[in-house]
Symmetry: C2
Subunit: 497 residues, 2 copies
């Protein structure tokens, strides 16, 4: 492989990474700090940075360098080969988008995110509607630029889960739907005996912060290379090497809401902190896909954090922090955190109902993008489908179609990765249990070192070297399938206690 | 004036402003949020952004555009003329610095700031020493690039207070020194009767936040276009239009420490929020100098905030928030906040002693830069001078030569602007009282509208249209002089109560 061409690409990527990491900070800051009147200028900053990065990557010399590398790639260095393969794919894809569209998209997005936050706060869908219309329009333009066979959704989903198609997701979801509804109904019936207020009481925000951080630290999150802040929407941002930031929001009546949010984001954060720093800026140093990212967050949140063994260790600690727990048992927490019932908010949904929230969003965004559902009709469509899936009447758009940030970010095609992540989490955790005997004892004693080491070695350190489907196959010895996830849900919700 | 050349310059400046405002966010975030392990990469980001901005401004076409504008400048549009004059000055200055030095300087600075924060926390000067040595070295290189007649300090002070020279500052300070020492001694004697613990008690951080924000809001600070955060070193950053951020730190034994810090930073913030947005990015839209900036902060902090009339309005409010004040009178607060005694920390020093802190720093940094004082000898030199000026033995470097952030930022030549600001604040406030009858009644009723309007009209909205000395002369009808400041100190500290 010609050293100079390859080195030129690495150097170019490190410049682009400087722009992208700075864009990430602009974005993080917008979600956590930015005053309202700073939004317009922030939109210009984001557009400018994204535009510059796009311009640097789409330069003709980049094409030439990639070609030079391709011509002589012997495959003997898997990192180099992976980088070249990914650069080619990204270059061919990125150069299909005109620079003006990239900048416009960023500008629209920054404004839309701010409008969404306000509309959600005030339950005012019409305030968000024109922004979403523009976003759908720009997303279609992007899809047209990228090109697609069946439906514009195909062109966009590749940004989040490379190698996946709308047809594959539709087929997967159609197969899952009846099983999920069955599991959901049965789980809800069984959960009826757990009182909704079994953990009722006041949980101070300060106490929640303290407990959240204790557990995140025990999992292995490095607070010298990261932090947790408050934001409307919980997220994780791997801003730069040594700087991974999580966000959460607090409900003083229910510590579990923030707690499981933080376990989830910690899973994302551990992945970011475990990426190989020596490849930063190149594909081999990046997380490989959103689905794989989500597998990490769901694994820590659900497979670790909702086990009875988990609370065996942490309940005494929690009881020190939270006064209301003094009259409760560990079993109460386990019962509460594995209680299932149809609910309004995706990020707070239990495992038995979660995926149906995803299917709902997928079906809606696919139809909006295809032009079969007008943005103006979104609330009605959302509410009707919600009634159909969950039997619940949605009381407000804030708790309905305005609850998620994704569409305001222009992230259409993102939602399916949550369910892909659930499948992968179950499959990975099954493999962990197979390969590491006594995992349950580790969890019961609050020892996560062996689990984290396994994830580091099999997932994190691989960065973007393999395609997502290959990464899961290599790590678990089988193709990604819904089997382990459905088995997990059965065990958790439907097997005799 | 050739429209296209002028418009090209405005456009180029708006690109540069996108880089600079993003750099400001990187800097703000480093002071308030950045985890320790993120520092190295942050240094790269800062260097990259500054380098890009420098590169864009130093391009040969910029020189050509400025020349074209100069050739036909009729002076009929004062904003355009001011911009062209300033661009020329800045261009000629900026192009003297090689791009590599600009980037290196930024990189060094980001590391040094982080090392300073750690060294200050741990009272460990040797940890900071090599960083400061590099900074002095780079500052000398910069001075050599800029060129100077007498001393390298001349070349640097221009960055902060254009038109000022080392000789002028030395002369001013030599004249002030005996008077300041005399005022300081007399003020300290008079203050002996005020017990140091006259306001003793516990002031919760939450209460302080609340009270600080109430007063800042009443002054006119727009919290929809700004915020207040916690940082080791209090500062104000005008990040972007609609986004001005202040920082403070809290001492739960003394609410005044944070409170006056916030009044000070609010003064800076009001200036930033009052700059003409239509000229953003060009010199006419910028603050004109650090001395003028400081005049705004000192005016609100001292001339407004330490008046008996001020506390007439705010004491009842403070008493609602702070339990310890329930047994105190407004007079106690006035006595405490105008109490004078030699003290260790500049940002907490009273007005009667403050300027001596500045003189001390000026003399030391001038000598370090001239090569007459080695960085290794800084603590000893600091402590000796401190003993001489204030009669105090400095107990630790944390409370001595490590207390200020400026040198770690590479900001040599900055300190004199604090005293220039004090002089200007007194002169401006004297003029305000002359032009607005009943100002004291306004303050006694917590009404700041007329004062703010005067400052908006005479200072803020002028942006960088006039040179600092001209701005003060036009606003007050006389050249800047120490007269009003000394008179103010006499009235406050030495006139019969």
């Amino acid at each position: 492989m010609p050293t100079s061409a390859y080195n030129n690409l690495v150097e170019r990527c490190s410049e682009i990474a400087l722009f992208n990491s700075t864009s990430s900070l602009l974005g993080w800051d917008q979600e956590t700090c930015l005053p309202r009147k700073g939004v317009s200028y922030r939109a210009e900053q984001c557009a400018f940075m994204k535009g510059r990065a796009h311009h640097l990557f789409c330069a003709p010399e980049v094409d030439r360098w990639i070609s030079e590398c391709e011509q002589v790639d012997s495959g003997e260095d898997p990192v180099r080969s992976a980088n070249v393969r990914d650069w080619r794919w990204s270059y061919d894809r990125a150069t299909k988008l005109p620079e003006g569209l990239v900048e416009k998209s960023e500008r629209v997005r920054a404004h839309a995110m701010s409008a969404w936050a306000m509309a959600r706060k005030e339950n005012n869908f019409p305030e968000f509607q024109p922004h979403l219309e523009t976003i759908i329009d720009i997303s279609r333009q992007k899809a047209d630029c990228y090109g697609y066979n069946d439906t514009p959704y195909d062109a966009l989903i590749e940004d989040y889960e490379r190698g996946t198609t709308t047809a594959a997701v539709t087929e997967l979801f159609e197969g899952l739907k009846p099983q999920l509804r069955e599991i959901g109904s049965a789980a809800a019936r069984r959960s009826e005996e757990v009182p909704g207020d079994v953990l009722g009481g006041h949980y101070s925000e300060a106490g929640q912060r303290d407990f959240n951080e204790k557990v995140a630290r025990a999992f292995g999150f490095d607070f010298e290379a990261g932090r947790i802040d408050t934001a409307v929407h919980p997220f994780c941002s791997g801003l730069a090497p040594g700087d991974t930031r999580l966000t959460t929001r607090y409900d003083e009546k229910d510590f579990c809401s923030s707690f499981y949010g933080v376990l989830h984001e910690t899973g994302h954060g551990l992945y970011e902190q475990g990426l190989p720093p020596e490849h930063h800026g190149t594909p081999a140093g990046n997380s490989v896909s959103l689905g794989v990212h989500e597998s990490q967050s769901r694994l820590w949140e659900n497979h670790v954090g909702r086990q009875p063994a988990f609370w065996q260790h942490w309940f005494p600690v929690a009881r020190e922090v939270f006064e209301p727990l003094s009259s409760r048992q560990a079993d109460d927490v386990v019962a509460f955190t594995t209680k299932s019932r149809p609910s309004l908010i995706r990020v707070e949904a239990d495992e038995a109902t979660y995926d149906l929230h995803i299917v709902l969003r997928f079906e809606i965004e696919r139809e909006m993008l295809a032009g079969n559902l007008a943005v103006a009709d979104l609330p009605e469509a959302w509410n009707a489908k919600f009634k159909e899936f969950f039997g619940i009447t949605v009381p407000s758009d804030t708790e309905g179609c305005l609850q998620d940030i994704h569409w305001s970010m222009g992230a259409l095609g993102y939602f399916p990765t949550y369910t892909i992540g659930n499948l992968a989490a179950a499959q990975l955790f099954a493999k962990v249990n197979e390969e590491i005997p006594g995992m349950k004892d580790d969890l019961a004693s609050g020892n996560y070192a062996r689990l984290l080491e396994w994830l580091r070695r099999n997932i994190h350190e691989k960065g973007g070297q393999l395609l997502p489907t290959d990464l899961i196959r290599v790590a678990t010895g089988e193709d990604l399938s819904p089997r382990h996830h459905l088995e997990h849900l059965h065990n958790r919700y439907l097997s005799p206690a």
